[in-house]
Amino acid sequence: MFMHLINFPFSSQFTHSSFLRIGQLSNVDLDDDADELETEVPHQFPNEIPHNEKLLSLKYESLDYDNSENQLFLEEERRINHAAFQTVEIKRWVICGMIGILTGLVACFIDIVVEKLAGLKYKVVKDNIDKFTEKGGLSFSLLLWATLNSSMVMVGSIIVAFIEPVAAGSGIPQIKCYLNGVKIPHVVRLKTLMVKVCGVILSVVGGLAVGKEGPMIHSGAVIAAGISQGRSTSLKRDFKIFEYFRRDTEKRDFVSAGAAAGVSAAFGAPVGGVLFSLEEGASFWNQFLTWRIFFASMISTFTLNSVLSVYHGNAWDLSNPGLINFGRFDNEKMEYTIQEIPIFIVMGVVGGILGAMFNALNYWLTMFRIRYIHRPCLQVVEAMLVAAVTAAVGFVMIYCSRDCQPLQGNAVAYPLQLFCADGEYNSMATAFFNTPEKSVVSLFHDPPGTYNPMTLGMFTLMYFFLACWTYGLTVSAGVFIPSLLIGAAWGRLFGISLSYLTGSIWADPGKYALMGAAAQLGGIVRMTLSLTVIMMEATSNVTYGFPIMLVLMTAKIVGDFFVEGLYDMHIQLQSVPFLHWEAPVTSHSLTAREVMSTPVTCLRRKEKVGTIVDILSDASSNHNGFPVVENETDTMQVAGLRGLILRSQLIVLLKHKVFVERANLSLVQRRLKLKDFRDAYPRFPPIQSIHVSQDERECMMDLTEFMNPSPYTVPQEASLPRVFKLFRALGLRHLVVVDNRNEVVGMVTRKDLARYRLGKEGLEELSLAQT
């Protein structure tokens, strides 16, 4: 039968549920008893498959939100008096304020540097084009533009690909996962922040079809995670403040404040930022958090506003609340009537369809990239090529366009005359030869008749494909502004054709440009509540809230019918075990027994050091939580669950050599305190760096003081939605499944729950893979 259980006299009581291995690592023999309940693993199971989106990666762990209420924690709480708790609360507010200020400053830095460098680049190219227009040799200008673009993007891509790959993309999917509870490696490190800021500057100045707003959210989150710990592990400096907050629970709260501050700095939308954090991290929300996050967002936008006002020379003008400023939408000039609402809904449908097309194209492209372009040098070359092609496309469009318009004041910073008459300028250049933010603003606010429909149409088409190609490259870049620009362009086209059809000029194309931008953005990212409020705040007009909400809802409904949102799609392609808000609807018949992982490696309350070291060093399985069961004192007692201990805690214990024999011999100078665990957080040393001698392996370790004495458990017959709700709402990392005698039967972790998904044909199960 079960040879290794021969030591346990009560083994006959275990039948099919005896998948309990205590302190032994041999493989469970499954063939005998469990015939009627087990199927053989199919032999034709393919072991190596090309990457697809129906996989979950093993490298992602959960964050430890659940507080380990061991004896050390209870002692600390007894020691802290009420005044100290007040101090902790005040410290939280101070940290949120600092997060807001620093995020605002980083946003200012990015904005100013981008403005300066982009201005320099455009000036150089413009002078070159002006010089060569008469003399001939415009191909040199094209080469110059392409080379400038390529070189800047090359630097930007090299730092991302070789130094910190997690800084690629906009960072919003990674922060979504972090707030969901997944520990993405390196996502909130200082190095990531540096690479991200430099990367986004180089990408935008390099002329790629990208925006700089998305990366602000990631930057805000990193700043929050860094400040709240009161030390820098990368720079090896400990400021010895905020030690209470060195836990995943506290860090997560501050990261949501940081993400909100990032949104607020990017769009000038503080309430939108709060709602963004709420939408992503709703499972752990509490009211105090809302107030603090709002504080951080407000401080962030105020800091950005004042610093930029001082920089532009009109201090206290306070007219730049965000990195992107949509301009003033006056009610008199741009009002809408009730008859236009159906038109807006139609635009929402168009936005949804176009967004689904964008996402589908990007999906195939990203799949190709993951499968074939996975070496860093290839990724850098790809980014350079995209930059060069962007420049070439822009140049060819400008060259072939015969649309000349007289200049309207100082609307365009770098007007290109090219082959137009004197005093007139190429209008395709105003679209392509500009940073995307300025193009969006001019599409919203330029008077009717500024744009030629043909120019706009060609621009929309080219930019759509460029933006789709660019997202997913190994550069730091966002997708908000390109989507807004595509939508504003076809929205304005819509408005122009509408006024042409009705024969009157009553349709102000700027208003339709705004609705088109909202529709396209909603169709691509599928965010609803936060995006509505962000757009409402960015246009500083509450009356536009209603049509924007309708447009976004329509775009989401239509888009969801075809394909997922862009960020969710990328999360799936990265095989992250993301838990949605609820369990899949048809899964009530699955019980905890089918979901759980079994057998579970348990530890006894007093365990031999050698056993513990062997279990931790086992390379075949990377367990992080171990149920602690009672030592068998006599034959009648069952090995019931007594607590849960984490790998990180065991490592700290091994490092400090907290052995029973040493305590007896009073070799231990002082008792271990909670501070020792917090000091080791978050980068706990791996087990390979802990040296245990042969004698020490025979010592015993008492886990009673350090384990979590009340872990959350769930009976075997609990349904999947019930397990899911408990796991998700509490942000657990391990959930122990027990039988009716409180014996450990299995363990539910994030990967066990995340593999059930509602697919197109019903409930489907994802496989786990090594990535």
């Binding site: 129906k54 001939g136 290839l378 070439a392 137009c420 019903g762 786990l768």
Partner: protein
């Protein structure tokens, strides 16, 4: 001159508010006698037009005569127009595009000098503080517009579209590079495979749940 006289008179009227109530009544009866308040409206109009036309830009600081730059500009402008007339002698300027190559060739230098002077004047005025002082005075701007329209539209002397072949060649080359890159990475790179991990689970024979496992 005229404008200054008008402003002076109005100032006299409005400033004549001394301690005596008689002068105040005089101002009141002139300025606010009826609903239309025509005097005030007209004076506002004159002031606004003067500001928007930025007439102050053409005049010297003390408002006594034209500034040096304006004089230079008008001089060049006259020279350009004379050059046009000179080269067109005998030909009537028709709206149909005809052969004006002589004009283009001979007057090129003068026109370019005028253009450069105008751009310089524009650049200098950009350092002004208010919105209006960013433009030059309206007389100069109108003169420039007329010249430009003559040059580009009527005489058709602007730069023709050149360089088509090299531009097409270079851009096609650049557009072709990604195709080569993707094809070569598709053919040469090893496709990234994922090693499946089979966890140990408690599997039930009777599938009460409609689960579909898909392996691609």
């Amino acid at each position: 001159g005229l404008f200054r006289a008008v402003t002076e008179q109005l100032d006299n009227i409005t400033r004549a508010v001394g301690n005596s109530s008689k002068s105040y009544n005089c101002a009141k009866s002139l300025l606010m006698s009826d609903r239309l308040q025509i005097v005030v409206v007209l004076s506002e109009f004159f002031n606004k037009t003067w500001e928007e036309a930025n007439c102050a830009n053409c005049l010297k600081n003390s408002s006594e005569g034209l500034s040096n730059a304006t004089i230079e500009f008008l001089d060049l402008f006259n020279k350009t127009l004379m050059c046009f007339e000179h080269n067109l002698q005998g030909q009537a300027i028709s709206l149909v595009a005809s052969n004006y190559t002589e004009v283009c060739r001979n007057c090129n230098v003068t026109y370019k000098k005028l253009n450069t002077l105008y751009t310089e004047m524009q650049r200098e005025s950009e350092h002004g503080e208010s919105e209006h002082s960013k433009h030059l005075c309206i007389d100069v701007e109108d003169a420039m517009n007329i010249t430009r329209r003559l040059w580009s539209r009527t005489f058709n002397c602007s730069v023709p579209c050149s360089d088509t072949v090299p531009v097409i060649a270079v851009s096609s080359f650049i557009l072709f590079l990604p195709v080569v890159f993707y094809l070569s990475s598709f053919l040469h790179s090893k496709q990234k495979k994922r090693i499946l991990f089979l966890p140990k689970r408690f599997q039930s024979n009777a599938s009460l749940v409609n689960i579909q496992e898909k392996y691609s």
